[in-house]
């Protein structure tokens, strides 16, 4: 008989240990530490060590109008971009699902915005959007349309940012939905043909309902990402003009790395964490309802 050592006896604990450590150190600890910081008044500009102040930082943050505005903008940005992306992305997928000449080329082109770096995208779009030397206002002036301030006008900055997000992320929805389309069974279509359904009925009664779980998956992934958007906004406007494009993540960044108010910044991130968590739970439940 082989003598069983400690290692062999506890294999089931030892093998997953690296992964568990990995998750604890890199995911659980930062989140827990952020929660801890949100109950402190840690502010580097004061030169004092941090002290626990209970809910004080929460009260300060909730009193701050910039926080409430940023909260609203976070939802505005998320819904504004994800709804359009869902509609456009699904429509594109349905079009691309038939065979036509040059389909491969079109699919590759669609992938390009996805693989580009957000900061690079931000810089390029900023050049497009520049009111004086940008190409978009030039095109508008050639078409004799009124020019826009795009990202440099507080009134148009959010829609302009949403356009960039839509441009970058619609292809992701398309690709996921395309994969979903490829997996649909052909039987319902055959019976629909036998029953004499027209193409619109097929689309709305068969294809879309069967695709719903896939579309919802894509939407959850996108929405969670959109709630946490930081890179595009920071690289394009830095939250400006004024505070007109600050979402929660950008505001929290400013609070920690420009104002050095770590406690209050942590409070904002706790809110963002809870929002993302609730949102994921909600959509996951919705998705389960569709699958039944």
């Amino acid at each position: 008989m082989v003598r069983q050592g400690f290692f062999e006896k506890n294999l089931r604990y030892i093998f997953p240990l690296p992964a568990v450590l990995f998750v604890v150190v890199l995911m659980v600890f930062p989140v827990a530490y952020t929660f801890f910081l949100s109950f402190t008044d840690w502010t580097l500009t004061s030169g004092r060590p941090l002290s626990v102040v209970g809910l004080n930082s929460y009260l300060q943050v909730l009193k701050e109008p910039r926080f409430l505005e940023a909260l609203g903008r976070t939802f505005y940005f998320t819904f504004g971009s994800v709804i359009v992306e869902m509609l456009l992305g699904t429509a594109l997928a349905l079009i691309l699902n038939r065979s036509f000449k040059g389909k491969g080329v079109v699919k590759t082109l669609l992938l390009l915005p996805l693989v580009a770096t957000p900061v690079a995208i931000g810089i390029v779009w900023n050049l497009f959007y520049d009111p004086t030397i940008g190409i978009l206002n030039y095109v508008l002036s050639v078409l004799k349309l009124p020019q826009s301030g795009w990202v440099s006008d507080a009134k148009t900055v959010m829609p302009s940012l949403i356009i960039v997000d839509i441009w970058q992320w619609t292809p992701m929805i398309t690709i996921i939905v395309l994969a979903g389309l490829a997996g649909l069974s052909s039987e319902p279509y055959e019976s629909a043909m036998v029953d004499g359904a027209n193409s619109r009925q097929v689309l709305f009664r068969i294809t879309l309902p069967m695709l719903m779980p896939t579309i919802l998956t894509a939407v959850i992934l996108r929405a969670i990402d959109a709630l946490k958007t930081y890179d595009i906004i920071y690289s394009m406007t830095g939250g400006g003009p004024g505070y007109a494009s600050e979402n929660l993540n950008v505001l929290a960044f400013k609070y920690s790395f420009e104002y050095f108010r770590m406690g209050q910044s942590a409070v904002m991130l706790v809110f963002l964490f809870i929002i993302v968590l609730l949102f994921s739970l909600l959509v996951m439940r919705l998705r389960r309802a569709f699958e039944l």
Binding site: T132, I133, G149, S152, G240
Partner: protein, 424 residues
Amino acid sequence: MKTRNVLVVMALVFCLAFPLFAQGTAETAQKQEIRVLLANHPYGELLKTKIPEFEAKTGIKVNYESLQESQLTNKLTTEFATKSSTVDVFMTRPLQEGLMFIKNGWYEGLDSYNFADYPANSVDIGRKDGTAYIVPLVTEWQVLYYRKDLFKQAGLSVPTNFTELEAAAKALNKDGVAGFASRGKGAAAVTQLSSYVYNFGGRYLDGGKAVFDSPEALEAIRYYGRLLGNYGPQGVTSMSWENIMPVFQAGKVAMWTDASVFYGQIVDPTKTQIPAADIGIAQLPRGPKDDSPFIVVSWGMAMSSASKNKDAAKQFLDWATSKELAIQGMLSNITMARDSAWADAEVRKVMNPGLVETQAHAAKNGYPYDRPFMSSVGQARDLIGEVIIESINTKGTSTKLASLAQEKVKAVNELLKADGEYGL
């Protein structure tokens, strides 16, 4: 088979996770090593090319990293605040982060450094309770860049006061060219507005209290907003220097007031569409009360108090702030803080006369701050920025500007109180 897969995964996880813990292990080699953080600034670039000479001379290995200015602050702050820093020497912005770093004890005192070659007020900014912490590296002051050709066409001469500046801005604002540009992006505009405030007789802070709601300061903010709102480029409230420069280089701006450091870039023929001969540099026009543009130490160099190689770090600091390198800097159009670098004969031969003249004027009459000098300067700049944007958006006519400024003064005073700097 399954076990083998698990082992492979485990090995992979270890490989991925190990570099995270590697920081502390590779220290204490025989050879002296220091870690240096540089800014993405022309002087940082110059140092990078010279570091091999330093290594050859001293045998000290220099590991340097080069970062954009706000990232540099972020990195230093994060490392120092979490007490995990291995930085020995770094470039630092005295007016932006100096107070906070001194307060937290992150700078090493530089009692043995010889500051005789520096203007006293440039050293005083990095001094607390008699100890100096920052060696001034680079100075900058506000100037007026202008298009000689456009002035000639319009038959105008270079403005010397604010009335003439406004008239010129109005006259030159045509044919798709903005008559006047200066930073309009809230917080970024605070530094460029500062000279206007001084020339109108105002201040941001006085005796440790915010006073930018004074009639003088408000007049300056209105004037700045009127010029930018009427004659500025489109979208100016979201423009900092990095947005204005390409517009100027594309020939769409007639006058631009900003820091002196950009001169080299706007006359660089590879970057600008305007012949260098058509670009002029002049001192900022004088205001109704004063003629006192900001002249500040934009960059300094300091040692970390947590450094484990203080001897090597000090050697590097002495070398990187030496007179010889300062002259090298001047020869590549970097305006250094050392007095002797400006007096050097070789430098005077090649230096642009416009830079020399405006520097002399600013050094004599200027004010050594371009922003509220306080620990919470980041937040204070955003607060003042709100007032600036309101003024630009209303072309200086806002009826609620005074009450908005009062509200922001109160908020800045609260910050000063919270940081224990009120009234100091």
